[in-house]
Amino acid sequence: MGLEAKLTQDGFFTTTIDALAAWARKSAVWPMPMGISCCAIEMMAAGDPKYDIARFGSEVMRFTPRQCDVMIVAGTVTYKMSHVVKKIYDQMPDPKWVIAMGACTSSGGMYRSYSVVQGIDQFLPVDLYVAGCPPRPDNLLNALMQIQDKIGKTRARDFQDSPKLVETV
């Protein structure tokens, strides 16, 4: 029942450009590994052959934000670090998504203290929160699949600038 079977049977299929673009986009979500503390170890485990994030098209962990689609913020974000995280987020090209991995990133976690940001949603638009301290790699993969579902529902017009009136002389 794959694409190959469909092609040998009929020789063609119909879809919309929007659906095709969303399918392509969601099947290659390149993560920006924003590994700040221990959650990063589980994020690395998600990339190893046992859990294998490559099954979902996300094995390309780019260490430059300019080639990334989703930022996985894995670890305790202090106030001092928050400016760095925001700077890296700002360099990612649109459209972009953010996964807040683990308790510290989502809510400050056990660090109820003056130096730790109590949830990165205070300065970043977070799409998905992953529970756990740290979350198991399966949990991160689940988050990635949910991001894929979210991307699959997007349409091209969501990312386009609003149309401007063209002046005619």
Binding site: K80, S113, Y114, S115, V117, F123, L124
Partner: protein, 168 residues
Amino acid sequence: MEFNTAVKAELLEKLSAQFPDAEFTTEEFAGEISLIFHKKHIAAVAAFLKDDPSFQFLICEDITAIDWATRKHRFMMVYILYSMKLSERIKLKCTVEEDDQTIDSVASVWKSANWSERETYDMYGITFNNHPDHRRMYMPEEFEYHPLRKDYPLMGIPGDLPLPKKSE
């Protein structure tokens, strides 16, 4: 394990001979002794303990402070030293008053004291005279408070550390 009594006697004898105007009191707890004396002697005592051939406290393990908050003498500096020759550890303690929060730096005696003193300045606001690089260690340079003081709230003061602006 008890602190070596012969070493303790020699230590006190040599120190009082070397610093006749200083008054040394000792406390012993868990096999380690604390030497308590006035802060004006700290740099000289530190250099003496490091250089004297029979002690050789070459390792400055940590420098920190205690904020006693309600006591008359608010701050206390603590220096933890280790001698590989004697296999003994001692602490030096000096009180620092709230209205004169300065003490001489020992960064010229032990290089490791440089960062320890910067951390103490960052967290408690005690300034070190003659420190080669007197800056904050952890907190941002423009931060105005000293977080480990007892009058600083656990969750900080709202707005004391800026967050990046949220984009639309």
